[in-house]
């Protein structure tokens, strides 16, 4: 059986495409880059990762310009057909801006960029994204953002991950990551691609990439 083909999106200003691609390969997938101008996902794409960074330099609003690119139209078709999409940090912002996930990401309550390792609580064990972990179990994954406070109606979504303990950025309900109601589109502010290697401190991010292949 050939490896699951995962498209890793690249916009001008995307930063985490290489580490996201390594994470895909690390769980046994095949990573293929797709670019902002492309009008279709690469042939045979089974899942999509929208990695973090500062697409278009965060001009206008984080994710706003990227959400209006040709490749995102292709991602919407992929998602509406039930295909999996994982948006990380700026990728989460792009998913909210494009309407694939509800809500918006507002500036952190501190109004400053924060980079920190965090314990994330599994809030909904019913999606594929947490690899069968039970509610209340934790994943150690770093976050780093300036505009990461999710704001919206939690009733319109499935809350998958919450920050454990103190709310670091002022998001509603300590939300760190959500999926759509059907569970195939997931967005989170923390960076699972940076929690793949014991030498870097944690391997808890692997479950989110493994979910792309399931």
């Amino acid at each position: 059986m050939s490896a699951t083909r995962v498209a890793v999106l690249r916009f001008p200003g995307t930063l985490d495409h290489e580490s996201a691609a390594r994470a895909v390969e690390g769980v046994g997938g095949q990573a293929v880059y797709a670019h902002h101008e492309d009008t279709a996902l690469p042939e045979g794409t089974q899942a999509v990762v929208i990695p973090g960074g500062f697409s278009y330099g965060d001009h206008l609003r984080p994710g706003a310009l990227a959400s209006r690119t040709p490749i995102m139209a292709a991602v919407k078709s992929h998602a509406s057909a039930g295909g999996k999409v994982l948006g990380i940090c700026n990728g989460f912002q792009i998913l909210c801006e494009s309407g694939l996930l509800p809500g918006v990401l507002r500036p952190n309550a501190s109004l400053s960029f924060i980079c920190r390792q965090a314990d994330l609580e599994v809030a909904d064990s019913g999606t594929a994204w947490t690899g069968g972990r039970l509610e209340g179990e934790t994943l150690s994954i770093p976050f780093k953002h300036h505009d990461g406070a999710w704001f919206g109606d939690p009733g319109e979504t499935r809350v998958v991950l919450r920050y454990k303990g103190e709310n670091p950025n002022g998001s509603i309900d300590r939300i760190a990551g959500i999926s759509n109601l059907s569970g195939n589109v997931m967005g989170l502010m923390p960076h699972p691609e940076e929690a793949q290697d014991p030498l870097l401190g944690s391997v808890d991010g692997r479950v989110l990439f493994a979910a792309l292949l399931s």
């Binding site: 200003g13 930063l15 994470a23 278009y56 960029f113 980079c115 920190r116 770093p142 780093k144 870097l200």
Partner: protein
């Protein structure tokens, strides 16, 4: 003929910062009066910032060669071999004066500038570090500068996607007017992809890549960076450049793609003095001439004079030499990266820099006049009086050692710098193994099992008191931090921040500290491969401390053997490893730059570094942490806080218990290991190095017994004070 007059009624050369004698030399060399654009070019290239006219003769004392050195000083950045066909490229640079005038953009473009130096060598940047110095936090101006400089570094560094893995922050009233913002960048490149800045090949095209040229940063290197700061600094704000990190990221990706595709003959970044500096360096280095058509330079605004186009410091620009047959590919690749690449001239065989403007020749200068013929100056070397040791009896002994300990943990110079480094992306790229806050940042070399450890450090109080010993101490502190991760120090970069070298004992301190640095670097086999000098960090209120910031790069052949600073497990043995006795002289505990701190011993440090590397290789140590500011007690508490577990140790009181706890000096490391490894570690220690088991990890308190005087702090309380100090100082007012 007489020199052109400027707007102020003074001669133009004087307004531009040249001395009358320097102007005469220009006229002598040229055999005629320079045109206005030519004069502007000389004034920038002959500024201290670009020419090092006061420091270059002294820099010759540095060791710059060694078996690992691939490229030494003189290029955009230095490079050292790290095996697997790869080289590590790095440099530290100052952006002090712009940051004092406009801290956000000053610090941001400081990051942008040093990153372009690494890109220019063809390397992929993998790490950033910063060394920052401001006035004390009870000053509103210093709090403003500190906050905004950190935000600027974060704004730029986060957006271009290079992890910030370390550095240092210090506060002292001497930096109230003249803050220091030094940034270091580290990159990696295969040996066969290293690019030089030397222009070559008659008829090859001169290509300007990246941003359009505007009026920002005109005269930044001369009026701003090569003069003392004063009351009219707000007027100098237009001399500060404005950064655009999104464009820099595109430029970084483009330059790497062009390097990979073999499209470039040479590459150079545009920094201080803009096009003038870049073109003259490329021409001089390659022994060729360059002809520039200024009308082809893409401008951001109309109405720039030719001299302005030639010296604008607009950011995010690079200059490349490209074979004519590859021009189409270069332009197309730039278009795909949404950037301009514009043919603005060609390589000639005249050795001259020529510039055409509206069809007329406005500049024709042999490039060597600009790059090599600056007059060099010997700095006056008036020694300061010799230091006198502190009479310990004059230092009041604290009633409560535990309270003194907590108070020291809360000194902003000792306290956690989390407030700073949490504003930086420490992880992007997913190679950061040791994050800021430990002894040194450790980053895996992408695609290999190796890692580099990097630290930036300086011992400015020691350098003020005894510049030779302080120069050594600055090198050895940085190297000790690197060695504590288990890495072997292999090379260095330096940023020499000093006051006005023409005044007082500054020249002597500069010369002596360079001598001390050179001797220490030789002893630890770490040549200098790149560096930067920033003089005139002085205001009417006085000079800064002599601040030779040293960046050391170390290598771990097996990344998985790296050591952190955190204690691990109950009952692990705590070792004090190293040499030297603690002294209160010029310590943070004393709180004043006074006394005669003992000179470090570079050969003993070299033995200490070998021991730590060997212990790492054999996986004998669980943690290692340098004893520096705050002494043994602070180092112990920091390893406890990092590990979330207490510890207890006992040491001799020496001259006095408070000195044993808080004194500084020598080369000492607090380490921990499984109790079964203590003997193995002691057996590996070389001459001059002692390994003493002083206690054990465990409990909820941190306890030091110094000859029967016991100091005790709770882990929780120590952590709260240490972590809370800087945020509280910023919020309190």
């Amino acid at each position: 003929m007489s020199p052109t007059m400027g707007d102020s009624g003074k001669p133009l050369f004087e307004e531009l910062g040249l001395l009358a004698s320097e102007y005469d030399r220009v006229v002598d060399l040229m055999g005629r009066e320079p045109t206005d654009p030519e004069l502007v070019m000389f004034s920038l290239m002959w500024s201290e910032h670009c020419s090092y006219k006061h420091s270059k003769p002294l820099l010759k004392g540095f060791p710059t060669t060694g078996p690992r050195v691939v490229m030494g000083p003189g290029e955009n950045a230095g490079a050292v071999d790290v095996g697997d066909g790869l080289a590590i490229v790095f440099k530290v640079e100052s952006h002090n004066h712009p940051s004092a005038v406009e801290p956000f953009q000053g610090a941001a473009t400081g990051v942008g500038g040093i990153v372009r130096d690494i890109i220019a060598v063809g390397a992929k940047p993998i790490a950033l570090l910063d060394s920052l110095r401001f006035g004390t936090l009870d000053s509103a101006r210093s709090r403003f500068l500190f906050r905004r400089a950190v935000e600027g570094i974060g704004h730029y560094g986060n957006c271009i996607g290079i992890p910030n893995v370390g550095g240092e922050v210090q506060f002292d009233e001497r930096y109230e007017d003249s803050c220091l913002v030094n940034a270091m960048c580290v990159g990696v490149v295969p040996h066969d992809r290293i690019l030089s800045c030397a222009a070559k090949g008659l008829g090859n095209r001169l290509v300007l890549i990246g941003n359009r040229t505007g009026r920002d940063g005109i005269g930044g290197a001369s009026v701003l960076a090569s003069a003392e700061l004063g009351d009219d600094d707000a007027d100098k704000r237009p001399s500060v450049q404005v950064g655009d990190p999104f464009t820099e990221r595109k430029l970084m990706d483009l330059c790497q793609a062009m390097g990979d595709a073999g499209l470039l003959v040479a590459l150079q970044d545009l920094g201080a003095a803009g096009l003038t500096s870049a073109a003259s360096e490329m021409a001089s280095r390659g022994g060729v001439g360059l002809a520039i058509d200024l009308d082809r330079v893409p401008l951001r605004e109309q109405g720039l004079a030719p001299g302005e186009v030639l010296v604008s410091e607009s950011q995010e620009r690079m200059l490349a030499i490209v074979e004519p047959a590859k021009m189409d590919a270069v332009v197309e690749m730039a278009r795909r990266h949404e950037l301009d690449a514009t043919d603005i001239g060609e390589v000639t065989d005249t050795g001259e820099l020529e510039a055409l403007w509206r069809g007329e020749e406005v500049v024709r200068i042999p490039s060597l006049y600009l790059t090599d013929d600056v007059p060099f100056y010997d700095v006056p070397r008036d020694a300061a009086p010799a230091a006198v040791a502190i009479d310990l009896a004059s230092v009041p002994e604290p009633d409560d050692l535990s309270a003194a300990w907590l108070s020291l943990m809360g000194d902003p110079n000792v306290a956690s710098k989390r407030w700073v480094f949490e504003q930086y992306d420490q992880l992007v790229g997913a190679h950061t193994m040791r994050r800021p806050g430990g002894d040194a940042g450790v980053v895996r070399i992408p695609g290999t099992d190796r890692a580099v450890a990097v630290s930036l450090d300086c011992a400015e109080w020691h350098t003020e008191i005894d510049p030779y010993a302080g120069g050594m101490a600055s090198v050895l502190e940085a190297a000790r931090n690197v060695a504590c991760t288990g890495a072997v120090p292999i090379a260095a970069t330096d940023c020499l921040n000093y006051a006005n070298p023409e005044k007082g004992s500054t020249g002597w301190r500069l010369a002596e500290s360079i001598r001390g640095m050179a001797d220490a670097l030789t002893a630890i086999d770490s040549p200098i491969v790149s560096g930067n000098v920033s003089l005139y960090n002085e205001s009417p209120r006085g000079p800064i401390y002599p601040t030779p910031v040293v960046g050391i790069v170390g290598l771990l052949d097996d990344a998985s053997t790296s050591i952190g600073s955190a204690f691990d497990r109950h009952d692990d043995a705590i070792l004090l490893i190293g040499y030297g006795e603690p002294r209160v002289d010029a310590s943070r505990y004393l709180g004043r730059c006074e006394g005669a701190p003992p000179a470090p011993d570079p050969s003993a440090d070299a033995a200490l570094f070998r021991l730590l590397a060997e212990c790492a290789r054999r996986r004998l140590l669980k943690s290692a942490h340098d004893v520096s500011e705050g002494g043994l007690a602070v180092a112990l508490a920091e390893s406890c806080i990092a590990g979330g577990i207490g510890a207890g140790i006992a040491v001799p009181a020496g001259r006095r218990a408070d000195e044993a706890l808080f004194g500084e000096g020598g080369g000492r490391v607090v380490a921990s290991c499984d109790p079964s490894h203590v003997a193995d570690i002691a057996a590996l220690a070389g001459e001059g190095i002692t390994v003493v088991q002083v206690g054990a990890v465990g409990g909820d308190d941190v306890v030091v017994d110094a000859g029967g005087s016991v100091a005790r702090v709770s882990l929780q309380e120590a952590a709260a004070v240490w972590e809370g100090s800087i945020p509280e100082a910023l919020e309190a007012q």
